[in-house]
């Protein structure tokens, strides 16, 4: 494999300065995805800047009642944090649904947001892939795509974003904070991932060289009754074929507030705003949940072998929202 330089940094400005505009440098978090990609030749960085020792490892309450989570907080720490479990249970569940204990002990919040798709063509450097080698083509559209996107894809790429954590963050309107040489910035998660279009290799709106420093979760009382459910092809240690993060507030059988996000259906965590709008103010019934899911999934454009995801997501939405409605009624 390619030889690379490695440097551990201890302060954020030093990290950003070291990275500069070097396109061959990468920040190294837990390494649970980047190192794999280096082994397979998908990533060939010349320099690794290890950011794990940066002072970004804390989870704190914000004055407005939300949470600030540092970028180097590990997945395990995030899922175990009492305030996360109390106020945003779907987030803790989502993190625990991913990977294995060993990987969660290494993987960081910042790295999780930036992990790459697990599309088999992306991972194989002998194959065409517009995301890895722009302009080379997308063999998944005519080939193996039974776990590819049904929403928001394009003729250039049908890959999905693999994160579980990101689905819960999308439901809870998380904001991503970053640092650049020009100073700090922030992006709502809804604007963090770019549309696929004809540039699937451009995945996020982060400025060049930016370092993710953390996320904030705004206060969301509705999140206290929330759930994450993940369906995969084996019971553990697999990426989702469909997942859902949902939060529901019901009063007298009427939906006061609902949050809904889908995973493994698009190039980004998919916030189901159409379904949310359809449900808000209406009855909290299985029929309403199904109609709302159908409204969201009306935009789906399944390929020949992933049409089951439309049924799966509808079934998941109905099942999870029904469970939450029952929980809220107790």
């Amino acid at each position: 494999m390619r030889e690379f330089g490695y440097q551990r940094v201890h302060d954020v400005s030093g990290a950003v300065a070291l990275r500069g505009a070097d396109p061959e440098a990468r920040y190294l978090g837990g390494g649970t995805n980047l190192v794999d990609l280096m082994k397979t030749g998908v990533e060939r960085p010349a320099h690794l800047i290890d950011v794990r020792e940066l002072p970004l490892g804390r989870i704190e309450s914000t004055p407005d009642g939300g949470l600030r989570v540092g970028a180097t907080v590990t997945n395990s720490e995030l899922a175990a944090h009492p305030e996360v479990r109390r106020a945003y249970p779907a987030l803790a569940q989502a993190v625990l649904a991913g990977a294995s204990g060993q990987l969660r002990n290494m993987a960081t919040v910042g790295g999780n947001l930036l992990q790459r798709t697990r599309c088999g063509y992306f991972a194989d450097t002998t194959q065409p892939c517009n995301k890895r080698a722009p302009g080379s083509g997308c063999p998944a559209i005519e080939g193996e795509h039974h776990n590819h996107a049904i929403l928001g894809a394009s003729a250039h790429c049908v890959a999905t974003h693999p994160s579980d954590m990101g689905v819960a963050l999308a439901a809870f309107d998380a904001v991503v904070h970053y640092e650049t040489a020009d100073g700090p910035g922030e992006l709502p998660l809804a604007e963090f991932y770019l549309p696929v279009g004809d540039t699937p290799h451009l995945e996020t709106a982060l400025p060049s060289g930016a370092l993710i420093t953390g996320i904030t979760l705004p206060p969301a009382p509705v999140a206290a009754v929330s759930r994450y459910r993940k369906v995969r092809e084996r019971a553990s240690y697999a990426f989702a074929i469909g997942s859902i993060a949902a939060a529901l507030d019901v009063e007298d059988g009427t939906v006061r507030e609902v949050r809904l996000a889908f995973g493994a259906v698009a190039s980004r965590p998919w916030r189901a705003r159409t379904a949310e709008q359809a449900l808000t103010g209406g009855p909290a019934t299985a029929a309403a949940f199904a109609a709302a899911a159908d409204a969201e999934l009306a935009a789906a454009e399944p390929l020949p072998h992933n049409g089951y995801k439309v049924t799966l997501m509808r079934n998941l939405a109905v099942a999870v929202l029904t469970e939450l409605a029952e929980e809220a009624a107790r």
Binding site: M1, A123, Q127, V231, R234, A319
Partner: protein, 710 residues
């Protein structure tokens, strides 16, 4: 000193649980595997595999790569040493994939086209990945189907006819009160042991030495001797610890390439395969389509059985997935037919993957038998009782032993089968539909000639030397127990050395026959040693060694139907809304000969059942038609059961010693798989009321099929 074997008449080691004799070495890391054994002046080879599925190599642009740091050589068809191709090896003519770098033809994706050798593994890999190879590409075909125009009838399959037929099939089907006529499919599956294939070759005083990870050092040594035109005694292959084999670790291109490079460079060369390379170079199980027709009278007695099995092979070597073989053993009918058809595709040659033939064959046949029971309204175990054959359905030969019904009886009792409500799709636990299923299994009992040496040491210990392979099965420990009983001494007085072709010819760890074959040779050698020691006298410092060979006694075995049998039970939970299937418990009861070491035997049988669980629900290699490559060729993309998928599993057995084997051994390496996938598929039907005839039973298939009374 004087050594006696039997003064204290210690026996009973066989049949008593014993931890692995090398267990401590393995868990502490003291046991070295082939890729980590140090060599002075070692160079590292990295294979370059083709990126086209069919064509010719036009050019290998070695210049830039030879200038890269540490690079020593690039071997390819233009400069590699020539190897012999016209010989009869221990397993027949040489596999053309062993003719490494001998021509410019590319017959499948990831065919070896070059080896880059460098001072370090990292340099070799970087250079190998930088090597430009130009191809003249040709159109390829990797699309397997049972109606492919290229279907043909293969030749003999390991000595058996591809087709068998008796009676008038169509007439008996027409006369049947109940008919099952269904097609079943299994996907391309791969056997990927945890330890990748690795070999180091070097020349030492005119002898070729190879440190390897294989299932039979005799086989590897003989093949290498043939390929490189060497005297058999000039090749030594060692393979002390092996992290899994499953049929994949015989002779493969990496050993041949390592020998070539060591010969050219006059220094030791190691070649290790990557996980991705293993998906193309070490064999796999062909996808199958199987067409089963069963006809029975109203009481469920079979009148007609038809098992047609379709699989693929490469364009350069014939390999048949012998799926119909299991039907030649398990069930008889007045009209009985089995048939195998093949199609040659631009794919790697399939190979023996654990329980070859029986694994996919039993899925189809045991699913069909369950369907017949359903349509006859008869309990599936009772249906099997009514169809128990008295002799081999095709051969007419007597069974050495056949205790499959005893397995069902014991299993049904332990599993609680008597309380089962036969109606499908009516049991619920929250979002889960529940069901139970059962299936039978069998696997041939084979033995192959082997030689062993047993030495009475001057210090009172005994040393056994045999070219056996412990591929994780516990064979080394089993042979220790067998030798101890044969010598009538405690196991701690016996040291067993294996995995060295210098110990003399012995068969490989395959076909579930390793321990039986090696144990036979050890038993004979130990017996003859005891006779010598009984004459009295002192043991000289070098000890007294007796060598035995079982060629004659195994060649003289009377023809019989020799098989291990099993009864598999499974309980599943199915959520038809999400497509998830979870196995809640499994039980397997086996009639598999004398169990030498219950501890490791349970591990092998449970491991086999987990393999069957993976086969039922998870395993599937997806071949990209455009490129001919496997998509997701790694252990994240190729799913098998994770720990969380594996429920409470029990393996048990009935007393079933083989009457012809000196220890009573049959073989347990593969029978644990057979029938397990069908038991799970039958349980999914019982849960949902929907038959799943295509493996794996993926969530998308469950969602599409639906089911359940609700």
């Amino acid at each position: 000193m004087t050594v006696t074997t039997g003064t204290t008449a210690v026996t009973g080691a066989v049949g008593t649980a014993h931890t692995r004799v090398e267990g401590r070495d393995k868990v502490t890391g003291a046991a070295r595997y082939a890729g980590e054994i140090p060599f002075a002046d070692l160079a590292h080879g990295w294979l370059v595999l083709s990126t086209v599925a069919r064509g010719r190599v036009r050019a290998v642009e070695t210049g830039p790569v030879l200038a890269m740091p540490g690079v020593l050589a690039v071997l390819h068809h233009g400069n590699a040493p020539r190897v012999e191709s016209e010989y009869m090896g221990p397993l027949g003519p040489p596999d053309p994939i062993l003719q490494v770098f001998q021509h410019d033809r590319v017959p499948h994706f990831n065919w070896p086209v070059a080896l880059v050798v460098a001072e370090t593994s990292e340099q070799a890999r970087e250079a190998a990945e930088a090597l430009t190879v130009q191809y003249d590409e040709e159109p390829h075909d990797v699309a397997f189907s049972a109606d492919h125009p290229g279907l043909y009838t293969p030749g003999e399959i390991m000595g058996q006819a591809p087709d068998t037929e008796k009676g008038d099939l169509e007439e008996r089907l027409a006369a049947s009160a109940v008919v099952v006529d269904e097609r079943y499919t299994t996907p391309e599956e791969h056997h990927n042991p945890m330890e990748p294939h690795a070999a180091t070759a070097c020349w030492d005083g005119g002898r070729l030495e190879v440190v390897d990870s294989n299932q039979g050092s005799t086989l590897v040594a003989q093949e290498l001797a043939h390929l490189f035109s060497l005297d058999a005694k000039s090749v030594r292959v060692r393979s002390e610890h092996v992290g899994g084999g499953f049929g994949s670790k015989a002779v493969r291109p990496h050993q041949v390439a390592a020998v070539m490079a060591a010969t050219m460079l006059h220094r030791p060369v190691r070649v290790v395969l990557t996980r991705r390379q293993m998906f193309s170079l070490v064999g796999y199980r062909s996808p199958t389509e199987q067409h089963i027709r069963l006809g029975a009278d109203a009481d469920g007695r079979l009148l007609a059985l038809d098992h047609q099995a379709f699989s693929l092979t490469s364009t350069f070597r014939e390999f048949v997935e012998f799926s119909g073989g299991v039907s030649r053993v398990m069930y008889d009918a007045e009209a009985h037919r089995t048939a195998h058809r093949l199609v040659r595709l631009d794919m790697p040659t399939p190979s023996w993957m654990r329980a070859p033939g029986e694994a996919p064959g039993s899925f189809a046949m045991e699913s069909a038998v369950d369907e017949l029971a359903e349509r006859c309204g008869i309990d599936p175990i009772e249906l099997r009782v009514r169809n128990e054959p008295a002799a081999g359905p095709v051969s007419g030969l007597p069974f050495a032993t056949r205790r499959v019904l005893d397995c069902f009886e014991k299993g049904a009792r332990r599993f609680g089968w008597a309380d089962r409500d036969p109606r499908p799709g009516v049991r619920r636990d929250g979002r889960w539909l529940l069901g139970t299923g059962t299936a039978a299994g069998s696997f041939p009992v084979l033995a192959a000639p082997s030689s062993a040496a047993v030495t009475a040491e001057a210090d009172g210990a005994f040393t056994v030397r045999i070219t056996a392979a412990d591929i994780g099965t516990g064979a080394r420990t089993a042979l220790t127990l067998i030798a101890a009983d044969a010598l009538e001494v405690a196991p701690d007085r016996v040291r067993v050395q294996i995995g060295d072709s210098d110990f003399g010819p012995a068969t490989l760890a395959g076909g579930s026959m390793g321990t039986r074959s090696w144990g036979w040779a050890v038993t004979r050698a130990a017996g003859e040693l005891r006779e010598q020691l009984a004459l009295g006298g002192t043991i000289p410092p070098q000890g007294i060694t007796v060598r035995a060979d079982t060629s004659e006694v195994i060649g003289a075995l009377a023809a019989k139907e020799r098989h291990s049998f099993g009864a598999q039970f499974a309980e599943v939970a199915v959520d038809v809304a999400s497509g998830e299937v979870r196995v809640r418990r499994m039980l397997g009861v086996f009639a598999a000969g004398k169990i030498v070491n219950p501890l490791t035997a349970r591990g092998q049988l449970v491991g086999g059942m987990i393999w069957g669980l993976s086969m039922a629900l998870h395993e599937e290699a997806v071949r990209d038609r455009a490129s001919g490559a496997v998509v997701g060729a790694d252990l994240a993309g190729y799913h098998f059961s994770a720990n969380a998928d594996i429920p409470h599993i029990e393996a048990d057995w009935v007393d079933d010693p083989d009457p012809d084997d000196p220890v009573g051994i049959k073989g347990i390496g593969e029978v644990g798989i057979v029938g397990a996938a069908a038991a799970i598929a039958n349980a999914v039907w019982h849960a949902t009321g929907v038959r799943h005839r295509n493996l794996p039973i993926r969530p998308d298939r469950v969602i599409a099929a639906g089911g359940g009374a609700a």
